[in-house]
Symmetry: C2
């Protein structure tokens, strides 16, 4: 088993955000994908350690922001490597509260999506949430959504410990 | 809801293959993801219409090939747009039968993986299979795994009707 083979799987880079009981948070995720076409359903894998996970469990809702290639390292670092339990991740970040009451980040975004959780699969360290997409729009179609590969190769990015794709060295 | 926003989600391009009861098949998939890091588990979304789905259900095993950017349109078309019920998809395709008895395609590959199905989630038109990775290796690290975006923009590729990401026009 060559663990380096895992690097040959392609992902996009996304922000997952949620809110419940007057609190809101967001995190970086790379495992977002469309599961079915009719209705449109997304799957996202979230670590049970993350504050966003708690808010998703409580509210049954989440938003997804597809991050553009021009997103700065600082922007990703702020959203991805600290816990929303301790800091306000939305400070100096452009977002709006949707009709469903979820913060949707539109900074460095190619597109945004909102979903209602319809199912979930317990994966021990992570939970795979299935969400029916209730709203979606393009923010900037002229830009590509950042791939994980681009993040590593061009941006020199790191992987957070709670990521599904974290590899212990 | 702007359905075009779905195009801003990034995917890789993969071959999923399986075998059971003396038959084997393969198909193209774009929804392959690492779900957990310890143990390494993959998730793949497969249409119930596909022959590979039947073989995965019967054998409980599958292989994944990450397709390189230099894969030809003919190669992808052969594996992706016809059913393994009617044609032999492995004719003139480089593959080997693994110790677990599964055909693993190594043509136009950056890496290959083998997995045992540990869980699944019924998504109506599709099934999300969770598989524990039992073997993996890099075939060609000098090449990038083709993204779905690359397939569309550079290769001018089409989307099969049974794909999770198919959009009716």
């Amino acid at each position: 088993m060559d663990i380096n083979a895992l690097k040959k799987i392609q992902y996009g880079m996304y922000i997952i955000s949620s809110a419940a009981e007057g609190k809101m948070s967001a995190q970086i995720a790379n495992t977002v994908f469309q599961m079915t076409a009719d209705p449109v359903q997304f799957a996202v894998s979230i670590s049970k350690q993350n504050f966003t996970y708690e808010l998703m469990e409580k509210s049954g809702k989440f938003a997804v922001t597809a991050i553009s290639e021009d997103a700065t390292f600082e922007f990703i670092g702020k959203l991805g490597f600290k816990s929303g339990r301790n800091i306000n991740k939305f400070e100096k970040v452009k977002y709006e509260i949707s009709a469903a009451g979820i913060p949707v980040v539109s900074d460095f975004a190619t597109a945004v999506y909102e979903a209602e959780i319809t199912n979930k699969l317990d994966m021990d360290t992570h939970v795979l949430f299935i969400g029916k997409v209730t709203d979606m729009k393009i923010i900037d179609d002229s830009k590509n959504t950042m791939t994980y590969d681009y993040y590593h190769k061009v941006k020199g990015g790191l992987t957070a410990k709670n990521a599904p794709t974290y590899v212990k060295r």
